[in-house]
Structures are given as C-alpha cells and as structure tokens.
C-alpha cells in the first residue's frame, strides 16, 4: 500500500513519537516520585473490578448525567468511539508497514463489520465533538472553560475523524474495496471527492491524507502528555489506585514523636497518589459545580485547586527534581492554594462524589489544614477556643464536663458513670445532645423511642467525651488522636460492643475512623435503628402527620455512609406524611455548611451556605424540614431565622418525628 519511502517515513514518525512520548512519560513519572510513598497495592482484584467497571460501562461519566446536563452521554459516545479508533490505528500502522496486515485478514465479515463500526464510530465522535464544542463555546456552562487547550483537543479529534473519512473516501475512489458499502461515511466522502472533480487525483489525495492523518495522530499522542488530555492515560491508574479506605476517612498521622513535619505545605509532602490525581484531572469542573463553597460565591473552587497544583507541579518540576539536600522548597500553602480556599471547605465530599476519575480533593485540603494547625498554629482565631474547650471540658462549647449527663436526669436511663451495669447498646449521646438545649430534645426523643421499644441501653454519662471529629477535620490530628484514644479506652472499660449515635459526625468517626486506633465495636445511626424497630414492629406509629415535609440528606450520613433510604422510609411510615424532595438530594445533596469544622468558624466570604440550602428547601413550601444531624438542624434553624420563615416552617430531627407519633 505504501511505497518504501512512505514506510520509512512512517517508521521515522513512530520513532520520533516514541522518543518524545517516552521522554515526557519518564519526566511525568519522575515528578510523581517526588511524592511520598503510599501503599495502594492492596486488593488488586477489587481494584481491577472497580477500574474496568467504571471505564467500560462509562459509569465514571454517566453517573453525573442529569436532565439538565447530558454531557456524560456525550463522553460515553466519545469514549467508545475514540476507543474503537485507537484499535483501528493499530491496523492502519500495521497495514502501512505491511500491506497484508489489514482487517480483511480476519475474513470479509470481520472486515465489513470493522469498517461499518469505524465509520459509525467516526460519525458519532464527529457529532459528539460538535455537540461538545457548542456546549463549551456557545452555551458556556460555568463549569467548562472555553480554553485554548480544550479547543485544540476538540479540533484535533474533529480533524482526525475527518481525515479518516477523507483517507477512506480517497482510497475507495482510487481502489475498489469490498467493504465499500459498509464504510458508508467513506463512500459518502468518496462521492464528495468525485463530485469535486478530483477523481483522477484520488491516489495522490489518499497518500496525502494518509500521511497527514498519521502525523496528526502521532502528534496528538505526544500532545496528550503535554495537555489536560493526559487524563485519558492517567485516569485509569488513578481509578485503579483509588482509596480503599472506608469512604471519606482521613489517614492518621502515625508518628508524632520523631516526624519532622506534619501535613502538607510543599509539593513533596504529597504522596505520589495525591500527585497522580493532578494528572487524572480532565478539568470537567463537576467538582466545582457541586461545591457548596463555590456555589455560595466563596474563593474555593475544587477544580481550581487541582489545576493550580498541577500547573505548579509542572512549572516547578525541573527545580524540584534538581533540588539539593538542604535547599528550601517553596511552600504551596498560602500561595498555590490560598488560606481562604483551605478553610472554606466543609468536607462535604460532593466534589469527590462527582469526580469521574476518583480525585481526592478533600484529603489535600485537610492535609494542608494539618500543616497550618500543627506546624504553624495558623488557623481562624475563633477555633482556638474550640480546641481549648475540647481539651479542658471535652466539648466544643466549653460547658463544664461535670454537667454532661444533666440532660438525662429523671429519665430513668442507665448512666454508666453513676452505676456501671449490663446493657446491649451504648447510646453515645454526643456533645450536642448533652449540652445544646435544642438538641437535648432530640436526645430525649431518642430515649423515648428506645424505652418504648424496650431496648436495653445505657449512656456513659460524665464518662462520655467529645468524639473529636471537628478537631480532626479542622486539622488538629494530635488533639483528635488524644481524644479518640481516650474514648476507645473508656469504651473498652465498659465492654462496649454496640454503639448508637444520633449525630452523623459522631457516627462516622466512631464507626470508620476509630478502628484506625484499635476500636472494635459496631456502630449504628439512629435512623438505621429506628427503621429496624418500625420494620420489626417493636414500635408502632400512630396519629397523623398531615404536613408537607422535605428531607435534607446530611453529608456525613449520605455521601459518607450511603444512608439515604432509612430517613425516607421512616418518614413515609408516619401516616399522612407528605414527603416532597428537593432537587439536590442523596448523593448530590447540598451541604448545610457546618461540616469540616466550619460550624465553629465565622463565614466571612460569599453567601452563607446554610441560607442557600434553606432557600432551596423553602422552594418546596414545606411545613417541616427533616434532618438527622445536630449540625444540619442548627444550620436550618439559623437559616429559617435569617429568612424570617421560622414562624411558618419548623425543623425536626427524624427522632422527633417518630417520638411525636409513638
């Protein structure tokens, strides 16, 4: 098919491409090696299943498809189409080097099928690229940058499809091919070329287009490693090396005594996986589009954090590789990622939930918080009081710890600090239930439910200590571990096997993060327990709740622990309950704004997140807003006050709903 000169040209092209590709790949890998070691080699079976599952079914993209945003479907089409093209390039090159190595080698059925699929794929990709370009440059959704780089990629992919058709068309014109009918696009292009009176030049055109096609594809191959399109190579390893820790857990700092530094302040403080995240990012902007900080007008935009870290890595890469021992490495905290961005995060994980390539945004920000808190003692001033209160009185408000069990007086509850005894379930009340007058009502409601169900439970009383979740999420890992270890010791002393928590933060940290320090007990959230009691008939709901309710999915219950159904089923078990759902629910639920320790910080930038969410809830005209978290409860009550709607709309915890209808 190709003259010798052509074959030589092709080999040279392959050689040059291989050379530059390899060099660049080595460079990129060497940058990854700047990161700290991290073991992500466990469970290879699960990792393969996950990766192939996400990629082959395109769940990575399809999971974000909504009525308003169908682009995930476009990606799926592009992916399947272009993947097929990549296979076809194998054949093109093979055929270029040795004519017989073409699809007809595998029979005419295969050949016809192949070219039909190829043309179909090409058409689909062509249309998808046009769709993508229209979205990015005309519709201009906020999450997509109409950048030069994106334009180049779209243009190149578009031209590759065109070139392929031109190659086919001119070839079909120049030679008779049995698959002509199947290569419907090729045939159409052949007709077109003929119509332009260029039939006689078909052969020349074929060679021209063929070489250009190859140059573009090889050029693109190199360009991939120099652009955001790197994601097509980095996404797969990034998915493979996803975090196998329980969802949303942070890594403990293992050694406080001899470590030289804590947290992340420079590029080399990141692990190689955290750096790989930067390569995998395709700048789709789904993270920013779902980030409550960004949506409320704050500086934090998760995509920008990742991109800025990526650009910084590339800009300073050479310097970092050449850096000698003892030379200062520039800080990224406060420069590449600003303090505002670091503190704006509510740890809601909306970004990570929607990220197609499993980038871990929250970990990076929390690691930087650890640096700021532990190394610089540099954190919002109001947080210092919270740390001291946790240290001295084991609750963020600093209320005397001797009064922790006062809420439970005269309720006939087993209080272990007063009289140790036998029990099935330990009700871990938490700081809100113990000290916040509003949430004490929820604790009492929970007690009423458990007593009605005849559950043999106990509370720790004054031996109960703050779970430390806020300390960890703000970055004070040292304080957190001190608190965690104290709690684990106390639980052991009382032989605690099963724990009930009403607060999702307490629930999450006890269940998934305390095991990092040797905890061995089962933890349930109260919505799980209550649903269980209803299903087993141990409590019966009566009366009528002829009211409109909208339910807010707490981040630490929903995204962190996949508990979406129980609160809904519970509400629907109450006679005449009219549950109307907001648009942003379940895995795309919009944070109340209090997570990540932000409950304890002033919100000085942008609109208040809790007000944004409250406004959303109010669009459903509810009589009641249902929550299952003390933080969310507080945020909604404040939000309703701010909107002057607190007379018309009330907020209740799921436990209160149930206790009111026992």
């Amino acid at each position: 098919m190709l003259p010798i000169a052509g074959k030589i040209f092709l080999l040279v092209l392959i050689g040059i491409t291989a050379y530059f590709f390899t060099k660049r790949a080595q460079y990129l890998i060497s940058l990854l090696k700047l990161g700290k070691p991290e073991d992500r080699s466990d469970n290879p079976g699960e990792r393969w299943r996950f990766t192939l599952g996400q990629v082959l079914t395109q769940t990575c993209a399809l999971k974000n498809v909504t009525r308003k945003d169908l682009s995930g479907i476009g990606h799926m089409l592009l992916f399947y189409g272009f993947s097929f093209f990549v296979v076809s390039y194998g054949f093109h090159i093979a055929e270029g080097l040795y004519e017989k190595l073409n699809p007809s080698l595998l029979g005419s059925l295969f050949n016809n099928g192949f070219f039909f699929m190829l043309d179909l794929a090409g058409l689909v990709v062509l249309v998808s690229v046009i769709w993508a370009a229209i979205r990015r440059y005309l519709v201009r959704p906020e999450r997509l940058e109409p950048s030069l780089e994106a334009g180049v990629i779209l243009l190149v992919v578009f031209s590759l499809m065109l070139l392929n058709f031109l190659v086919e068309g001119s070839r079909l014109l120049a030679e008779e091919k049995p698959f002509a009918d199947w290569a419907f696009m090729g045939s159409a292009f052949a007709q077109g070329i003929a119509n332009m009176g260029l039939q006689s030049h078909a052969h020349t055109l074929f060679y021209c287009f063929w070489y250009v096609h190859m140059m573009v594809i090889f050029g693109f191959g190199i360009y991939i490693l120099y652009s955001k399109h790197l994601h097509i190579l980095a996404a797969h390893p990034n998915l493979y090396f996803h975090s196998s820790r329980p969802k949303g857990t942070l890594q403990p700092i293992k050694d406080f005594e001899s470590a030289e530094s804590f947290g992340v302040s420079k590029v080399t403080d990141f692990s190689w996986k955290q750096l790989l995240d930067l390569y995998a990012c395709t700048e789709c902007g789904q993270c920013s589009a779902n980030c409550p900080a960004n949506i409320s007008g704050k500086p934090l935009k998760p995509k920008d954090v990742i991109i800025n870290l990526k650009h910084n890595l590339f800009e300073n890469g050479q310097n970092l590789l050449r850096k000698k021992e003892g030379e200062e490495e520039p800080l990224i905290v406060g420069s590449v990622v600003t303090h505002d961005e670091i503190w704006d995060c509510t740890n809601c994980m909306a970004c990570m939930e929607v990220c197609p390539v499993a980038i871990e945004h929250v970990d990076k920000l929390d690691d930087m918080r650890r640096y700021l808190v532990l190394m610089e003692s540099n954190f919002p001033a109001e947080v210092q009081t919270v740390f001291r209160n946790m240290e001295n009185n084991s609750n963020p408000w600093g209320i005397g710890m001797a009064t922790r069990a006062d809420w439970a007086k005269d309720l006939g509850i087993k209080i272990l600090s007063e009289a140790p005894g036998e029990f099935d379930i330990l009700y871990y009340v938490g700081c809100a239930g113990s000290f916040d007058d509003r949430y004490k009502k929820v604790a009492r409601a929970m007690v009423k439910i458990m007593q009605a169900a005849g559950i043999n439970f106990a509370i720790l009383g004054t031996d109960e200590k703050c779970c430390g979740d806020s300390a960890r999420r703000i970055g004070n890992e040292y304080l957190f571990q001190t608190m965690a270890q104290e709690n684990i010791e106390i639980f052991k002393n009382y032989n605690v096997k099963k724990v009930l928590a009403t607060c999702p933060h307490g629930y999450n940290v006890l269940k998934k993060e305390y095991p990092q320090f040797g905890a061995k007990f089962e933890v349930m959230h109260h919505t799980e327990l209550i649903l269980d009691l209803i299903k087993n008939g141990r409590i019966k709901l009566k009366g009528e709740l002829a009211k409109t309710i909208t339910l807010h999915d707490s981040c630490f219950l929903g995204r962190y622990n996949d508990i979406y159904e129980p609160p809904r089923q519970i509400l629907n078990s109450i006679p005449q309950a009219n549950l109307v759902e907001m648009e942003r629910i379940e895995r795309t639920s919009f944070c109340c704004g209090a997570g990540g320790g932000r409950m304890w910080m002033e919100e000085l930038r942008g609109k208040k997140i809790n007000e944004v969410r409250t406004e959303e809830a109010l669009t459903k005209n509810p009589d009641l807003i249902a929550t299952a978290c003390p933080f969310c409860l507080t945020m909604f009550e404040d939000g309703l006050k701010a909107k002057n709607a607190d007379d018309k709309v009330k907020v209740l915890d799921i436990a209160e709903f149930v206790a009111n209808h026992l």
Partner: protein
Amino acid sequence: MNIVVCVKRVPDTETKIKIGGEGTKIDPAGVEFIISPFDEFAVEEAIRIKEKLGKGEITILSLGPAEAQTIMRKAYAMGADKGTHLNDATECQDTLAEAQALAAALKGMQFDLLLFGKQAVDYDNGAVGVQVAKLLNLPVVTRIIKLDVADGKATVERESDMGKEIVEVKLPAAFTAEKGLNEPRYPKLMDIMKAKKKPLEEKPAQLDAPKLSIVKMDYPPARPPGKIVGEGEEAVPALVNLLKNEAKAL
C-alpha cells in the same frame, strides 16, 4: 533578657467544685487542671518579649504537686526554655508561705523581669506577686495590660480606678498580668514535642509552716433557678428590685 514566670496549676474554670471528705479541700476526682489563665498571659508576654528582642531566656517557676510539671511543659510548649518545680503537695493556702518559698528559689536566679498572673483562679487572693516582689525588694506593678521593655526600663499600661495609668519602672522589676495583656498562643505540635525534652529541675519547696489554716469549706447558697418575673412593663419594678437586692447586680 532573662525572664522568670511563676505559674500555678489550678482546676479548669468550668469545674464543678466538690468539697472533699474532711471538708477542708476540694475533691480532685474528675477535675481537669490547667495553667491559671492569668499566668498564661504572663507566659505569653514573656515569649513575645523574647521574640521581639530576638534573644533571652525564659524560666518557669511553679510551686505545687508533682502534676505541676505537666503545666510547666505546657508553658514550655508555648516557648519557655527551662524551669524549676518546687514540689509541694500540701495545697497550701497561705500566700505568704508560698511567696516565701518562691522568693527563696528566686534568690539564686538572675532575671530582668519577674512575671506573675494577677491572681490564681483557685484561691483568688491576688497577693503572691506583690509578696514575692517585696520579699526580693523588687519594684512591682500589678495588673498590667501592656508591657514594653527597652534600655533597662519597662513601660506598662494598667487599669486603675481613674482610668488607665502609664507607669515606668527600671528593671529588674516584677509585674502581674491582667486579662487583655495578650491572647496566648496555641502551641505548635513541634513545640509540644520539643517541650518534653526541655530541662526541668525539681526540688522540694522550702515552705514554712503556714500561718493560717482552713477551718472549713462551704458551698455558696444555691443559685435560685431562673424565674420569669412577669409579663410586660408591669414586671419591671419587680425585676429591678430583684437585681438590686437579690442579685446585687446594680
């Protein structure tokens, strides 16, 4: 610039005080102990002065039981360099005896500044700082809210009945710290780790027999539960009466 700061280990201010068995001491069970908050202002100020001058040494002195060393390490984590623990487990309430024991230890030390908190939040006498200064024949200025040191002199600002006073005194001198002097820092973790290794000398406190003794400890009359005095303007005279005579808040 050598600075000595005296600190005391006291129960956290939120502690529910329970009087112990014999009725003359508090029951330490379940009590969280901290560095007396006014002493903490003194420690913080010492560190700021050292940071500003770029040189100096800060010594912590504490009279108390063995556990006082934990508190001293907290001061170390903030930035103090070394310290001496005068071991005494008697929970002495005789400020003069305490002052004499502190002065005896301070006699052997060289310093330009001697800092105290204005009062320890356990026994609230507010006397030890002045007593120690007199025993060492040092000038003392109490309740400072600002401290500037230069050329062997200190210029301080303090609250007085007539407003704010600016006082000047030649060093060496003693000062007691009042709230508002500064905001104590939250120690960095590295400093908390380093604090474990800083030198801490222990010696028995040279305490004379106390010249006063505790007859007994009592609880104050129970705070009456909150009450709604009434509705609307009609309730105002009753409220004012209560504020004046019952609460003595006016």
